[in-house]
């Protein structure tokens, strides 16, 4: 449980960057979902329950700060940790390439889930623009992992040395 503050702080930090900085760099819909990256990283590296709890809280924050119905991102992020936790338990996930592939898959599914929920709610019709948004956002999010993963690894090493979390 000592790892929860780390996951939450990094997640919130990424959320702030996402809201305050990435808005100016990328078009609104296409900006990478850095919080999702933290959740994926948490699922792959962190303790399972801590990961789930952090993912839920981060998802809830994302729900509150976006127009999503409350619980949408919480559910998506928790599902992400369940999936990545399973992958981490059963496969050898060490390299950047494997993490990239997992992120690509998770991002694609997450964004599809968000749009499908909106489609079910009758808010969106299936238009080509949505496919473009999903694909580009997925690629940008996955590419962001290349930058974010080494930083998270390094920060995690430092944190676990100070706090004694494993």
């Amino acid at each position: 449980m000592k790892d929860i503050p780390f996951f939450l702080l990094t997640g919130l930090g990424c959320l702030v960057i996402q809201c305050a900085i990435l808005n100016h760099i990328f078009p609104m819909e296409l900006k990478p979902d850095l919080t999702l990256l933290v959740v994926v990283w948490t699922g792959l590296n962190g303790e399972y329950v801590s990961g789930l709890l952090s993912a839920f809280l981060l998802g809830l924050t994302q729900d509150l700060l976006s127009g999503a119905p409350l619980g949408l991102f919480s559910a998506v992020y928790v599902a992400t940790v369940i999936f990545t936790g399973y992958v981490s338990d059963n496969f050898h996930v060490e390299g950047l390439g494997t993490s990239f592939a997992i992120t690509l898959l998770v991002s694609l599914v997450s964004f599809c889930v968000v749009f499908t929920s909106r489609w079910f709610a009758g808010h969106v019709t299936l238009e080509p623009e949505i496919v473009k948004i999903i694909l580009v956002k997925t690629i940008l999010t996955s590419l962001s992992l290349i930058m974010l993963k080494p930083m998270l690894d390094k920060a995690w090493k430092g944190y676990s040395r100070i706090v004694g979390a494993t």
Binding site: N23, D33, L65, V114, H123, K137
Partner: protein, 281 residues
């Protein structure tokens, strides 16, 4: 101890030379003097020394002068930076003033109690077109209240907490506003779209629309008052099913550039004003 003759001679000669030089330099009226000869002989040396002296002086002077210039330059750069910041701040204030003046005009035009709010954040996920404003339930802001700016409607409040609220923009696909084309009085449903800014749907096939036609709210949705500008028609096309015509609408409000908005504190179904919030009118 006595000095040697050589020492004494040297002392005498040099002392005499000095005295001669001293006296010869006093009387300038004399023509070619010994002093003149000495001057001539020492001229090259004197010139060389003077040259180096001047150069050294110049170097020192320019060095110290440059030190001063460096400091002065730093101060001036700071001053320029400060003045530039001040200019930017003043320009910002000027623009804000102009925007607020416009908003005040709108406030005075509207028959409903209104509240000016500042946009403090955009959608975190980027997948929804919403913004956060700095007024909430404590200011009398509740869900389903209309949000607008002088140029046109912006959206409606979808969530509200103590000190902030979330506004769904008219460009979000979940938003629908009952509108009319001002010129022809035809009714349609204005919805947000990912592909286009907004689409005016379910228009009668017989309708004769033109590019640039103004789209205004019909007032029938119970959220937006009647006659508020929503946008202008950009293009017209048949709908997917061919029963209706739909038009792409460019919102009147520059949605991505908004900084302040006006919240209409009430709906047509009656003002949802909390007791004690009258001061916000």
């Amino acid at each position: 101890m006595f000095r040697s003759i050589r020492d004494v001679t040297a002392a005498v000669v040099l002392l005499s030379l000095g005295i001669i030089l001293l006296f010869s330099s006093i009387d300038k009226s004399q023509g070619w003097t010994f002093a003149g000869f000495v001057y001539s002989a020492f001229k090259p040396i004197d010139q060389t020394v003077t040259f180096f002296q001047q150069k050294a002086g110049e170097i020192f002077r320019s060095y110290f002068w440059l030190v001063g210039v460096g400091e002065e330059n730093r101060l001036l750069t700071e001053e320029v930076r400060r003045l530039r910041t001040e200019i930017v701040t003043l320009k910002e204030k000027d623009l804000e003033n102009k925007r607020l003046k416009k908003i005040l005009t709108l406030k005075s035009k509207l028959d409903y109690p209104t509240l000016v709010a500042q946009i403090i954040g955009e959608d975190a996920s980027g997948l929804f077109r919403t913004v956060l404003i700095n007024k909430g339930t404590t200011d009398g802001v509740f869900p389903d209240m209309a949000v607008t700016v002088p140029e046109g409607i912006v959206g409606k409040i979808v969530r509200s907490s103590g000190t902030m609220a979330q506004v769904a923009m008219i460009t979000d696909p979940s938003m629908s506003v009952d509108c009319r084309v001002e010129r022809t009085r035809d009714r349609g449903l204005l919805t947000g779209s990912y592909s286009y800014s907004c689409v005016l749907q379910y228009l009668n096939k017989e309708v004769k629309l033109q590019k640039g036609d103004l789209v205004v709210t019909s007032g029938l949705d119970g959220i937006f008052p009647k006659g508020m500008v929503a946008g202008t028609i950009d293009s017209i096309r048949s709908s997917e099913h061919g029963l209706f015509v739909e038009a792409t609408v460019t919102p009147g409000a520059k949605i991505s550039e908004l900084e302040e908005v006006v919240v209409i504190l009430g709906t047509q179904g009656g003002f949802s004003m909390e007791p004690g919030q009258e001061r916000n009118r």
